[in-house]
């Protein structure tokens, strides 16, 4: 019984680590300027934690195997349990800290560095249960949103005031996030109601919407694609249905798309 348990533990540990090592279930190919470094960081974390996981499971299996059939006496570690627990906590803590320090280099590139000056600014609003994306339009200026003016029935999803605010008149509102390739993009993310999350696996980008905050996020897409954005924060009844398209176009196609949208 003990020996078969030891075998089962070893097999489960090696198989589950093998799935990751062989990259059978991995993220979709990345199309982000930062993707390579993010994936590198992810792989590093996997190796760190994976080696410890396999070692711990195999050690467990070895002890079980060795002790099977023997009458065990529980003995304390020399010096009592405190130093052992203390040492284990310190080792694991140092490992986590090391990962954080190494990871910060990539994290700061994505979240702590301001977007490049030539970034295209797109305003993103999440609401139950759809995303809307706003571009400044031909005048290059955003109209000021007034939440009390939001009227979805009249397609005024952002609460713009075109009557009094001339900058708002040419704002382009799209249900899809369309961006040009190889060009930095700055998203300012805000929510109309509850918490939502924007997840674009190909960009290695996931950011929550927090009601009351405007959260800046920037990225550069390096490949032409059309994929799906799904909300990854349970936001209510229609959460399963909250999605949008993410489209990366060539610079010419993007310019044409923007012109078409402005004409509508």
């Amino acid at each position: 019984m003990g020996k078969s348990f030891a075998i089962a533990v070893s097999v489960i540990a090696l198989l589950s680590a093998g799935v990751f090592a062989a990259r059978i279930w991995w993220l979709p190919p990345d199309i982000s300027a930062l993707g390579l470094r993010i994936d590198g960081q992810l792989a590093e974390t996997m190796v760190f934690t994976g080696v410890l996981f396999v070692a711990a499971q195999l050690a467990l299996a070895a002890f079980v195997w060795q002790s099977t059939g023997r009458t065990a006496t529980i003995r304390l570690f020399p010096g009592g349990p405190m130093p052992l627990v203390g040492a284990a906590t310190a080792i694991v803590g140092l490992e986590v800290l090391a990962l954080v320090f190494i990871g910060t280099r990539v994290w700061s590139q994505a979240f702590l560095t301001p977007a490049p000056a030539n970034a295209i600014h797109i305003d993103v609003q999440a609401g139950q249960f759809a995303f809307y994306f706003r571009y400044a339009g031909p005048d290059g200026k955003f109209g000021v949103p007034h939440p009390e003016l939001i009227n979805e029935g009249e397609s005024n999803f952002f609460g713009l005031d075109p009557k009094n605010d001339t900058a708002a008149r040419d704002d382009i509102v799209s249900a899809s996030l369309v961006v040009p390739v190889d060009q930095p993009v700055l998203l300012t993310m805000h929510s109309k109601d509850v918490g939502h999350s924007l997840f674009i696996p190909q960009l290695r980008l996931q950011q929550d919407f927090v009601p009351g905050l405007i959260i800046p996020v920037h990225f550069t897409a390096t490949g032409i694609t059309k994929t799906e954005i799904v909300c990854t924060q349970l936001c209510g009844l229609g959460h399963y249905n909250m999605r949008a398209y993410f489209e990366v176009l060539s610079k010419d196609d993007f310019a044409k798309w923007l012109t078409d949208q402005a004409g509508q």
Binding site: E152, G153, E154, S155, A175, G238, Y245
Partner: protein
């Protein structure tokens, strides 16, 4: 005795005929056209990309329907109804139907009488959550998955109720719950016709969701058709 009985039965029959709302074919008619002056707002196309089963039902994008116009400044989806002076009538037995198809409300504006049975259907392959934003009548919202049986409701008090879908933000319509059975919703040509009006003096009101209401008085003396046109003031923003 026998003659009296026959006479009273005949009288009863006549009286009930006079009181039934089916009596509409006889009587006067108010007919005309609703148009606008000024510049109406530019309607934007609706992007249904997030709901492919609906998007594929529309080869060309559907436009926002909050202002529907036709040739000659005609204004569609305007509710024209007798707002005062109308004969009291029981709600019609026929039920009103409001359909969800292609992630749109059909019709966009539904006129019905207070107390009239209303059937809400979902003819889409996706779930809807219908939410009429009533203030005078009790407010409710109900989820309706594909294939679910129709929702049956009635509104007791007159009210213009905006209707939205909690799942698809662009879906938008109106229930015009009226005190009268004499109502019409204009088509794209802006025309309307209220029939079966007994002689009397009436106030006729036209309502459009963005341009508000306008009322006029009209007198019907017999079986004639009184012509009545409305011109609503459109604003661009």
């Amino acid at each position: 005795m026998r003659i009296e009985l026959v006479a009273s039965v005949a009288l009863c029959a006549l009286t009930s005929m006079a009181l039934t709302p089916i009596h509409h074919s006889a009587g006067g008619t108010v007919a005309g056209k609703v148009t606008y002056t000024g510049t109406p707002p530019k309607m934007k196309p609706i992007d249904m990309a997030k709901e492919p089963s609906c998007a594929k039902e529309h080869p060309t994008p559907v436009m926002n329907e909050s202002v529907v116009t036709g040739p000659g400044n005609a204004l569609g989806d305007v509710v024209v109804y007798i707002s005062a002076g109308g004969p009291a009538s029981a709600p019609p037995a026929a039920q009103a139907t409001f359909d969800q198809k292609g992630c749109q409300y059909i019709p966009h504006v539904l006129a019905l009488q207070a107390g009239q049975k209303l059937e809400i259907r979902n003819d889409d392959q996706t779930s809807h959550n219908i939410h009429p934003l009533s203030k005078v009548n009790p407010e409710w919202n109900k989820s309706q998955p594909p294939g679910a049986p129709p929702i049956e409701v009635a509104y007791d008090k007159p009210e213009f109720i905006p209707v939205k879908c909690n799942v698809h933000p662009w879906m938008h319509g109106y229930f015009a719950v009226l005190n009268t059975s004499h109502s019409a919703v204009t088509g794209d040509d802006g025309s309307f016709s209220l029939t079966g009006l007994p002689p009397g003096k009436y106030t006729v009101t036209a309502w459009q969701e963005r341009f508000g209401t306008q009322s006029q008085e009209v007198t019907i003396t017999g079986n004639e058709t009184a012509k009545l046109d409305f011109v609503l003031k459109a604003t661009e923003y």
